[in-house]
């Protein structure tokens, strides 16, 4: 445990600045979006807002009557659906740095020459990534809640929390995939590009499929379909599927990553 703590803490310290910037920007965006919610709190204004929405967006988020209130619908459309994309990008960036950045910057000569198994380094640092991702969702939720509370708006914060819980495990799976990609990529830069591309492509595929009214299975294949805002925030279902699938995929991908890392040559 001591070794895990030391490795995880070192990783968090080294990435503290980048993490703080991400968290601050996300919290600020949450706060700003929530601050514009009064525009739809009134039923009349909400209807006017909906009339201007394109039909594709309506098909994406469903009927606002499926939601508890206009604020939930508005936040789902404006923000909650975008959060997993940002979290996916953030998580992938952090995950790629678990080992590949050390190899790229030659700090692997220091870390991997310490008396610790490579698998321990990878898992301890991935745990740090998981902590950062959890912080990401937490500050997003807290910022939303704070502004809604300040404005006295009727947002379903508990449902947002449930949505974020599901999205968290999906982001974790993408982060695990990023670790694996980073270990098989030619360079750190290539790994960053590949990981970001995977996250964005999956997100866009899910979005396009929903807008086009395509099969649910397709959205689920790219993972984002497991945590639809309509289902969780609107209908109130808890995203157990996303959590279990995210956890299982993360475990499988990390196991594969450990195998690849154990065979990885660290050239001069």
């Amino acid at each position: 445990m001591r070794v895990y703590m030391a490795l995880g803490w070192q990783y968090l310290r080294e990435h503290r600045l980048a993490t703080l910037v991400w968290l601050a920007v996300t919290a600020l965006m949450s706060y700003v979006v929530a601050s514009t919610a009064p525009a739809v709190a009134d039923e009349q204004l909400l209807r006017a807002f909906l009339r201007n929405l394109p039909s594709q967006v309506r098909s994406l988020f469903g009927d606002y009557l499926q939601y508890r209130n206009g604020v939930d619908y508005y936040l789902s459309y404006k923000w909650l659906q975008i959060v997993p994309l940002l979290a996916g990008i953030f998580g992938a960036l952090e995950a790629v740095a678990v080992i590949a950045r050390d190899i790229d910057r030659r700090t692997a000569d220091f870390t991997l020459a310490l008396p610790v198994r490579r698998s321990t380094v990878l898992l301890a640092r991935f745990a740090a990534v998981a902590v950062n991702l959890a912080l990401f969702y937490l500050v997003t939720l807290v910022a939303l809640w704070a502004e809604l509370w300040q404005l006295g708006l009727p947002g379903s914060v508990a449902r947002y929390g449930a949505l974020f819980a599901g999205q968290y495990f999906v982001s974790l799976a993408f982060a695990s995939l990023a670790v694996l990609l980073s270990l098989v990529s030619r360079s750190y830069g290539a790994a960053v590009r590949a990981s970001e591309l995977v996250v964005i492509a999956a997100y866009v595929a899910d979005l396009a499929n929903r807008v086009a009214g395509g099969p649910t299975a397709l959205s689920r294949i790219v993972l984002f379909g497991w945590v639809g805002t309509r289902e969780v925030v609107g209908e109130g279902s808890f995203p157990w599927g996303a959590m279990l699938l995210g956890l299982a995929l993360s475990a499988i991908l990390l196991r594969l990553s450990v195998r690849v890392l154990q065979r990885k040559q660290i050239p001069a």
Partner: protein
Amino acid sequence: MKIAAKAGRIPMYAIELWNLRKEYRNGRGIHGLSLQVEQGEIFGFLGPNGAGKSTTIRTLLGLLTPDGGRAQVAGWDILRDSVAVRRVTGYLPSENALYTDLSGAENLRFALQVRGVSGTGRARELAERLGADLRPRLRNLSHGQRQKVAIVVALAHDPQVLILDEPTTGLDPLVQETFFSLLREEQARGKTIFISSHVLSEVEALCGRVAIIRDGVLVEVNQVEALRHSRVKRLDVAFVGTPPNVAAWPGVRKVCQDGQRVRFAYHGQILPLLRLLAAEEITDLTVNDPSLEEVFRAFYQNGPVRDGASGRAGLQSGSHKGGR
């Protein structure tokens, strides 16, 4: 902190390599190195860039997996007991490998925590002696200052075996001298030091024995003194009348003629040369031992490399404990 060797058994050699191989697609790497470094020895590992020094070290530390052969450090097998090898080893890479976004103290704390070493007394003492500032982030330090911090981090856990890859890079001469004193003290405390370098003067000043590696093959393993005495000689001969064509004699290089006086370097057994000289009429003869640099160059200028067996023979001929 005392770090024990394997299961209470004190291995005879601190580092042992048996036909160790690591081959790259471009033909580079190490091709069957066999070598033994004794306990308490300061051992130099010489060769130009690309000769296989770093590959050897990285293979010992588990950063690279060997393609064949075997090796042990402090009695621990580098493949089976890789973690134990790294536990008894202090490693100083050839380029800065510490985290530049962290301070020296943070890097140090991280390394000691992972190693399970509490207390930073030894590190503070080392930092003081070397003049290393552990407070600033490494990215704000000069190359030399970073190297001092790296030395402190490599030695802070009091390792049984020190593996130093080009350790004096960036150090000014005064700090270099302090560092050498430090290494000699470590040797006096029974620690083994394995220094890879292409800076011959530092190896000459520090090491008892050296191995010379060329194209991934050991070409010589011997005492520094023995190398100087046995291999290359510098001769200054004054002939009567016109000097003979010395350059055509086997083993003769760097011929410089000044009238009847001829200066040249000779590589090989001394007896054949004496026979050739005896056939000439000479008035003066001076024989000097060369610097290690000349010895080293001789190994790199004289035709194809010797096979691994020759390297091992060299090892056997100079196997007594060295170090000054």
